[in-house]
Amino acid sequence: MSTLRTNALEGVDAKNSITIVAGAGNVTTTNVQQGLCMAWVNFDGTAGSISNADNFNSSGLTDHGTGNYTASWTNALSSVNYSVSGMGGDNNVSSPQGMFSHNATPSTDSFKVICTNASASATDFKYVSILAHGDLA
Protein backbone atom coordinates (compact mmCIF):
# COMPACT_ATOMS: atom_id res chain seq x y z
CA MET A 1 0.00 0.00 0.00
CA SER A 2 1.36 3.39 -0.97
CA THR A 3 -0.35 6.74 -0.72
CA LEU A 4 0.70 9.86 -2.56
CA ARG A 5 -0.28 13.05 -0.76
CA THR A 6 -0.41 16.18 -2.88
CA ASN A 7 -2.65 19.18 -3.47
CA ALA A 8 -2.08 19.41 -7.20
CA LEU A 9 -1.17 17.22 -10.15
CA GLU A 10 0.57 18.36 -13.33
CA GLY A 11 1.96 16.40 -16.22
CA VAL A 12 5.75 16.52 -16.62
CA ASP A 13 5.99 16.61 -20.43
CA ALA A 14 2.75 18.56 -20.77
CA LYS A 15 1.13 20.14 -17.73
CA ASN A 16 -2.28 19.37 -19.12
CA SER A 17 -1.82 15.65 -19.74
CA ILE A 18 -1.44 12.85 -17.21
CA THR A 19 -1.91 9.22 -18.15
CA ILE A 20 -3.15 6.59 -15.76
CA VAL A 21 -3.29 2.82 -16.13
CA ALA A 22 -6.97 2.03 -16.11
CA GLY A 23 -7.59 -0.96 -18.30
CA ALA A 24 -8.96 -4.19 -16.88
CA GLY A 25 -5.77 -5.88 -18.08
CA ASN A 26 -3.59 -3.41 -16.18
CA VAL A 27 -1.97 -2.27 -19.40
CA THR A 28 -4.16 0.22 -21.23
CA THR A 29 -3.87 3.81 -20.14
CA THR A 30 -6.35 6.63 -20.25
CA ASN A 31 -5.98 10.36 -19.74
CA VAL A 32 -6.88 11.91 -16.38
CA GLN A 33 -7.77 15.36 -17.71
CA GLN A 34 -9.83 14.08 -20.62
CA GLY A 35 -11.78 11.78 -18.35
CA LEU A 36 -12.80 14.36 -15.80
CA CYS A 37 -16.22 15.96 -15.81
CA MET A 38 -15.49 19.67 -16.10
CA ALA A 39 -18.82 20.91 -14.78
CA TRP A 40 -21.95 19.44 -13.26
CA VAL A 41 -25.06 20.84 -11.65
CA ASN A 42 -28.21 19.64 -9.95
CA PHE A 43 -31.18 21.95 -9.41
CA ASP A 44 -34.92 21.96 -8.75
CA GLY A 45 -36.64 23.24 -11.89
CA THR A 46 -39.97 23.55 -10.09
CA ALA A 47 -38.67 26.14 -7.63
CA GLY A 48 -39.95 29.67 -8.02
CA SER A 49 -36.39 30.92 -8.16
CA ILE A 50 -34.02 28.26 -9.48
CA SER A 51 -30.57 27.87 -7.98
CA ASN A 52 -27.86 25.22 -7.80
CA ALA A 53 -28.65 22.55 -5.22
CA ASP A 54 -25.13 21.30 -5.70
CA ASN A 55 -22.59 21.85 -8.43
CA PHE A 56 -19.01 21.86 -9.61
CA ASN A 57 -17.72 24.74 -11.75
CA SER A 58 -21.18 26.26 -12.21
CA SER A 59 -21.53 30.01 -11.71
CA GLY A 60 -25.30 30.01 -11.82
CA LEU A 61 -28.52 29.30 -13.66
CA THR A 62 -30.86 31.34 -15.82
CA ASP A 63 -34.59 30.59 -15.97
CA HIS A 64 -36.00 31.29 -19.44
CA GLY A 65 -39.50 30.07 -18.62
CA THR A 66 -41.10 26.67 -18.19
CA GLY A 67 -38.54 23.91 -18.74
CA ASN A 68 -36.00 26.30 -20.28
CA TYR A 69 -32.74 26.84 -18.44
CA THR A 70 -29.17 27.92 -19.03
CA ALA A 71 -26.34 26.60 -16.85
CA SER A 72 -23.28 28.87 -16.78
CA TRP A 73 -19.74 27.66 -16.14
CA THR A 74 -17.24 29.47 -13.87
CA ASN A 75 -14.17 28.28 -15.78
CA ALA A 76 -15.04 28.14 -19.46
CA LEU A 77 -14.39 25.30 -21.86
CA SER A 78 -11.86 25.90 -24.63
CA SER A 79 -14.35 25.45 -27.47
CA VAL A 80 -18.07 24.97 -28.03
CA ASN A 81 -17.50 21.39 -29.11
CA TYR A 82 -17.75 19.81 -25.69
CA SER A 83 -20.10 16.99 -24.73
CA VAL A 84 -23.16 17.56 -22.58
CA SER A 85 -25.33 14.92 -20.94
CA GLY A 86 -27.89 14.85 -18.18
CA MET A 87 -31.46 14.11 -17.29
CA GLY A 88 -34.62 15.66 -15.91
CA GLY A 89 -37.38 14.02 -13.97
CA ASP A 90 -39.65 14.12 -10.97
CA ASN A 91 -40.55 11.68 -8.25
CA ASN A 92 -43.52 10.18 -10.05
CA VAL A 93 -42.78 6.65 -11.23
CA SER A 94 -46.30 6.02 -12.49
CA SER A 95 -46.24 8.41 -15.41
CA PRO A 96 -43.65 9.17 -18.05
CA GLN A 97 -41.05 11.73 -17.24
CA GLY A 98 -38.83 13.73 -19.50
CA MET A 99 -35.29 14.54 -20.35
CA PHE A 100 -33.69 17.46 -22.07
CA SER A 101 -32.25 18.43 -25.40
CA HIS A 102 -30.09 21.28 -26.61
CA ASN A 103 -32.02 24.47 -26.96
CA ALA A 104 -29.47 26.85 -28.43
CA THR A 105 -26.01 26.99 -29.94
CA PRO A 106 -23.60 25.95 -27.18
CA SER A 107 -21.31 28.54 -25.66
CA THR A 108 -17.92 27.98 -24.03
CA ASP A 109 -19.22 29.38 -20.75
CA SER A 110 -22.84 28.21 -20.73
CA PHE A 111 -25.28 25.67 -22.11
CA LYS A 112 -29.04 26.01 -22.66
CA VAL A 113 -31.42 23.07 -22.37
CA ILE A 114 -35.13 22.41 -22.57
CA CYS A 115 -36.90 19.80 -20.43
CA THR A 116 -39.94 18.15 -21.96
CA ASN A 117 -42.61 15.70 -20.87
CA ALA A 118 -44.08 12.75 -22.78
CA SER A 119 -46.21 15.11 -24.83
CA ALA A 120 -43.12 17.03 -25.90
CA SER A 121 -44.27 20.03 -23.89
CA ALA A 122 -41.73 22.08 -21.96
CA THR A 123 -42.02 21.11 -18.31
CA ASP A 124 -40.34 22.05 -15.05
CA PHE A 125 -38.91 19.00 -13.28
CA LYS A 126 -37.81 18.60 -9.68
CA TYR A 127 -34.54 16.92 -10.58
CA VAL A 128 -32.52 18.47 -13.39
CA SER A 129 -28.93 17.35 -14.03
CA ILE A 130 -26.51 18.83 -16.56
CA LEU A 131 -22.92 17.60 -17.09
CA ALA A 132 -20.14 18.88 -19.34
CA HIS A 133 -17.13 16.88 -20.54
CA GLY A 134 -14.47 18.50 -22.69
CA ASP A 135 -11.35 20.67 -22.66
CA LEU A 136 -10.92 23.48 -20.18
CA ALA A 137 -9.81 26.82 -21.60
Binding site: M1, S2, T3, L4, R5, T6, N7, A8, L9, E10, G11, V12, D13, A14, K15, N16, I18, V32, Q33, G35, L36, C37, M38, W40, V41, N42, A53, D54, N55, F56, N57, N75, S78, S85, G86, M87, G88, G89, D90, N91, N92, V93, S94, S95, P96, Q97, G98, M99, S101, T116, N117, A118, A120, F125, Y127, S129, I130, L131, D135, L136
Partner: protein, 138 residues
Protein backbone atom coordinates in the same frame (compact mmCIF):
# COMPACT_ATOMS: atom_id res chain seq x y z
CA UNK B 1 8.29 10.91 -19.59
CA UNK B 2 8.00 10.33 -15.86
CA UNK B 3 6.00 7.61 -14.19
CA UNK B 4 4.74 7.91 -10.64
CA UNK B 5 3.62 4.67 -9.02
CA UNK B 6 1.14 4.78 -6.19
CA UNK B 7 -2.01 2.97 -5.13
CA UNK B 8 -3.81 5.89 -3.55
CA UNK B 9 -4.04 9.63 -4.09
CA UNK B 10 -4.86 11.94 -1.17
CA UNK B 11 -4.91 15.71 -0.93
CA UNK B 12 -2.34 17.24 1.42
CA UNK B 13 -4.34 20.19 2.74
CA UNK B 14 -7.69 18.48 2.30
CA UNK B 15 -7.72 14.75 1.83
CA UNK B 16 -10.62 14.88 -0.61
CA UNK B 17 -9.33 17.62 -2.89
CA UNK B 18 -6.58 17.52 -5.52
CA UNK B 19 -6.19 20.14 -8.26
CA UNK B 20 -5.37 19.05 -11.81
CA UNK B 21 -4.08 21.37 -14.53
CA UNK B 22 -6.59 21.51 -17.36
CA UNK B 23 -6.11 21.22 -21.10
CA UNK B 24 -5.42 24.93 -21.53
CA UNK B 25 -2.31 24.62 -19.31
CA UNK B 26 -3.48 27.28 -16.84
CA UNK B 27 -6.92 26.72 -15.36
CA UNK B 28 -7.14 23.94 -12.83
CA UNK B 29 -9.99 21.57 -12.24
CA UNK B 30 -10.63 19.26 -9.30
CA UNK B 31 -9.81 15.57 -9.54
CA UNK B 32 -12.41 14.34 -7.03
CA UNK B 33 -15.20 16.58 -8.33
CA UNK B 34 -14.59 15.42 -11.86
CA UNK B 35 -14.73 11.70 -11.19
CA UNK B 36 -17.81 9.66 -11.94
CA UNK B 37 -18.90 8.18 -8.59
CA UNK B 38 -21.40 5.63 -9.88
CA UNK B 39 -21.98 4.11 -13.29
CA UNK B 40 -23.90 1.12 -14.57
CA UNK B 41 -25.04 -0.56 -17.76
CA UNK B 42 -28.15 -2.66 -17.08
CA UNK B 43 -31.04 -4.54 -18.65
CA UNK B 44 -34.68 -4.06 -17.58
CA UNK B 45 -36.02 -6.95 -19.68
CA UNK B 46 -37.36 -10.00 -17.82
CA UNK B 47 -35.09 -10.04 -14.79
CA UNK B 48 -33.54 -6.63 -14.14
CA UNK B 49 -29.79 -7.21 -14.16
CA UNK B 50 -26.55 -5.28 -14.51
CA UNK B 51 -24.03 -5.99 -17.24
CA UNK B 52 -21.25 -3.99 -15.65
CA UNK B 53 -21.05 -1.32 -13.00
CA UNK B 54 -18.97 0.70 -10.56
CA UNK B 55 -20.04 1.40 -6.96
CA UNK B 56 -23.45 -0.26 -7.37
CA UNK B 57 -24.65 -2.71 -4.71
CA UNK B 58 -27.85 -3.90 -6.40
CA UNK B 59 -30.82 -3.06 -8.60
CA UNK B 60 -34.46 -3.01 -7.47
CA UNK B 61 -37.19 -3.66 -10.04
CA UNK B 62 -40.06 -1.24 -9.32
CA UNK B 63 -42.24 -2.61 -12.11
CA UNK B 64 -42.39 -2.02 -15.84
CA UNK B 65 -39.83 0.52 -16.92
CA UNK B 66 -38.87 1.62 -13.43
CA UNK B 67 -35.70 0.69 -11.56
CA UNK B 68 -33.88 1.79 -8.43
CA UNK B 69 -30.08 1.73 -8.55
CA UNK B 70 -28.67 1.12 -5.06
CA UNK B 71 -25.31 2.75 -4.36
CA UNK B 72 -22.57 0.86 -2.53
CA UNK B 73 -20.61 3.78 -1.04
CA UNK B 74 -23.22 6.47 -0.44
CA UNK B 75 -23.23 10.02 -1.68
CA UNK B 76 -22.85 12.88 0.81
CA UNK B 77 -26.22 14.41 -0.12
CA UNK B 78 -29.12 13.90 -2.49
CA UNK B 79 -28.21 16.85 -4.71
CA UNK B 80 -25.89 15.03 -7.08
CA UNK B 81 -25.98 15.30 -10.85
CA UNK B 82 -25.95 12.59 -13.48
CA UNK B 83 -27.00 11.25 -16.85
CA UNK B 84 -29.32 8.51 -18.08
CA UNK B 85 -29.84 6.98 -21.48
CA UNK B 86 -32.26 4.20 -22.37
CA UNK B 87 -33.18 2.83 -25.78
CA UNK B 88 -36.92 2.61 -24.99
CA UNK B 89 -37.21 -0.81 -26.60
CA UNK B 90 -37.28 -4.42 -25.44
CA UNK B 91 -34.52 -5.40 -27.85
CA UNK B 92 -31.29 -3.91 -29.09
CA UNK B 93 -33.02 -1.65 -31.59
CA UNK B 94 -34.32 1.75 -30.71
CA UNK B 95 -37.39 1.65 -32.92
CA UNK B 96 -39.52 2.98 -30.09
CA UNK B 97 -37.12 5.70 -29.18
CA UNK B 98 -38.78 9.00 -29.76
CA UNK B 99 -36.57 12.03 -29.77
CA UNK B 100 -36.28 13.69 -26.39
CA UNK B 101 -38.53 11.79 -24.02
CA UNK B 102 -36.79 8.55 -23.28
CA UNK B 103 -36.70 8.52 -19.52
CA UNK B 104 -36.14 10.41 -16.34
CA UNK B 105 -35.05 10.53 -12.73
CA UNK B 106 -37.19 9.29 -9.87
CA UNK B 107 -36.29 10.06 -6.27
CA UNK B 108 -32.66 10.82 -5.49
CA UNK B 109 -31.34 9.80 -2.07
CA UNK B 110 -27.82 9.43 -0.75
CA UNK B 111 -28.01 5.65 -1.12
CA UNK B 112 -30.04 5.18 -4.30
CA UNK B 113 -31.74 6.78 -7.27
CA UNK B 114 -34.69 5.69 -9.38
CA UNK B 115 -35.10 5.88 -13.11
CA UNK B 116 -37.89 5.36 -15.58
CA UNK B 117 -37.76 4.34 -19.22
CA UNK B 118 -40.55 5.16 -21.64
CA UNK B 119 -41.31 5.50 -25.31
CA UNK B 120 -43.79 7.90 -26.86
CA UNK B 121 -46.54 7.51 -24.29
CA UNK B 122 -45.91 4.35 -22.29
CA UNK B 123 -43.57 3.20 -19.59
CA UNK B 124 -41.52 0.38 -21.08
CA UNK B 125 -38.76 -1.99 -20.04
CA UNK B 126 -35.61 -1.08 -21.97
CA UNK B 127 -32.88 -3.43 -23.12
CA UNK B 128 -30.17 -0.78 -22.85
CA UNK B 129 -29.88 1.51 -19.85
CA UNK B 130 -26.72 3.51 -19.28
CA UNK B 131 -26.40 5.89 -16.37
CA UNK B 132 -23.87 7.61 -14.12
CA UNK B 133 -23.63 10.02 -11.21
CA UNK B 134 -21.37 12.98 -10.44
CA UNK B 135 -21.31 14.53 -6.98
CA UNK B 136 -19.79 14.28 -3.51
CA UNK B 137 -19.11 10.94 -1.86
CA UNK B 138 -20.03 10.68 1.83
Amino acid sequence: MATLKTNTLTGTSTAGSIAVTGEGNSTTTNLQQGLCKVWINYNMISSTAERDSFNVSSLSDLGTGSTTVNINNDMANANYSGFFYCNAAAETAYNNFSNHYAGGWGGLTTGSFSQQSHNNTDVIDSFMNITGVMGDLA
